[in-house]
């Protein structure tokens, strides 16, 4: 399945591993913060409406 990377297998696979991990972490952190802030804003707006 994985192509024969010869003597450079470690740097090539490490490059893909590190990069994909960093990018996945960035996407996850962005989604998580987006969700948290959206919910927190909804809570504040609901509270303000109920308080008149």
């Amino acid at each position: 399945m994985i192509p024969d990377l010869g003597k450079y297998a470690v740097p090539v696979l490490a490059s893909y591993g590190v990069s994909l991990l960093l990018i996945a972490g960035l996407v996850w952190a962005s989604l998580r913060r987006s969700d948290r802030v959206r919910r927190a804003l909804e809570d504040v707006e609901t509270r303000r409406k109920s308080n008149g």
């Binding site: 192509p3 024969d4 990377l5 010869g6 003597k7 450079y8 297998a9 740097p11 090539v12 490490a14 490059s15 893909y16 590190v18 990069s19 960093l22 990018i23 972490g25 960035l26 996407v27 952190a29 962005s30 989604l31 913060r33 987006s34 802030v37 959206r38 927190a40 804003l41 504040v44 707006e45 303000r48």
Partner: protein
């Protein structure tokens, strides 16, 4: 669309309404292009006659380095818009782009080190391009820290915009360092309109696909993060109003 129509997106409500429709398409296109480009490059391209299989690192290193520089240039444009026209959305877009640019710089530095070790015999050298890239990374850290350190949003936007102007020198240096100083280990541009200078077609097409994927990923993340910053700013304003009324 006229230039005046573009300013409508400076309205936070309009920005959120428009990105509600656009963001899913951009995100899916980014995922598609990234997977297609990386699978094509990793599984279906041959080894280079000089660099062997390490040439596969090009599909991560070049797009990430490209985005590291262009993210800062995008921040420069939006910071200038803030300074000149005081549109909050543009300042928040610059803030939203910084962590994305920082991660892209980190990916470029990490893949560069992993590529450099087998090819140059060293993980790191104080080469003009490598050094200017490291300084660009430090500028990203400083820019993000400055936003976090200042409580008042407008003051933070003012000061970070100035920092962005200063950092632009290093963003441009990291792109043209090889041309300015004809020394160091790093090669010249891998992408060029000059056929002689450019990489071979067999590497070029999957590289274009991954570059498109990285650009779309950057756009998707910046749109999403800008929406978050707009909401966070509104929340801070509402909470401040509540405190004043209490």
């Amino acid at each position: 669309m006229s230039l005046n129509a573009l300013w409508e997106f400076a309205n936070p409500r309009k920005f959120i309404a428009t990105t509600d429709r656009v963001l899913p398409w951009v995100a899916w296109a980014a995922a598609l292009m990234l997977v297609a480009g990386l699978v094509w490059g990793f599984f279906f391209t041959p080894d280079d006659f000089r660099q062997g299989s390490t040439v596969k690192i090009i599909y991560l290193h070049v797009p990430s380095a490209l985005m590291a520089i262009n993210a800062w240039l995008m921040m420069l444009v939006t910071s200038l818009v803030w300074i000149v026209r005081r549109h909050h959305v543009s300042a928040l877009a610059a803030r939203a782009a910084a962590p994305v640019g920082m991660v892209m710089t980190l990916v470029a530095l990490a893949t560069g080190a992993l590529w450099g070790q087998p090819m140059w015999g060293t993980w790191w050298a104080w080469d003009p391009r490598l050094t200017s890239f490291l300084i660009l990374f430090l500028f990203y850290l400083g820019y993000i820290a400055l936003w976090e350190a200042i409580e008042n949003d407008d003051t933070a936007a003012d000061l970070t915009s100035i920092l962005c102007l200063v950092g632009s020198v290093f963003a441009l240096l990291s792109r043209y360092a090889v041309n300015f100083w004809n020394q160091g280990l790093h090669q010249g541009a891998s992408l060029s309109l000059d056929k002689q200078e450019n990489v071979a077609d067999v590497f070029w097409y999957p590289l274009l696909a991954t570059i498109a994927g990285f650009v779309l990923l950057f756009v998707a993340l910046v749109l999403m993060r800008t929406r978050t910053e707009i909401r966070a700013r509104r929340m801070r304003a509402l909470l401040a109003r509540e405190r004043m009324q209490a």
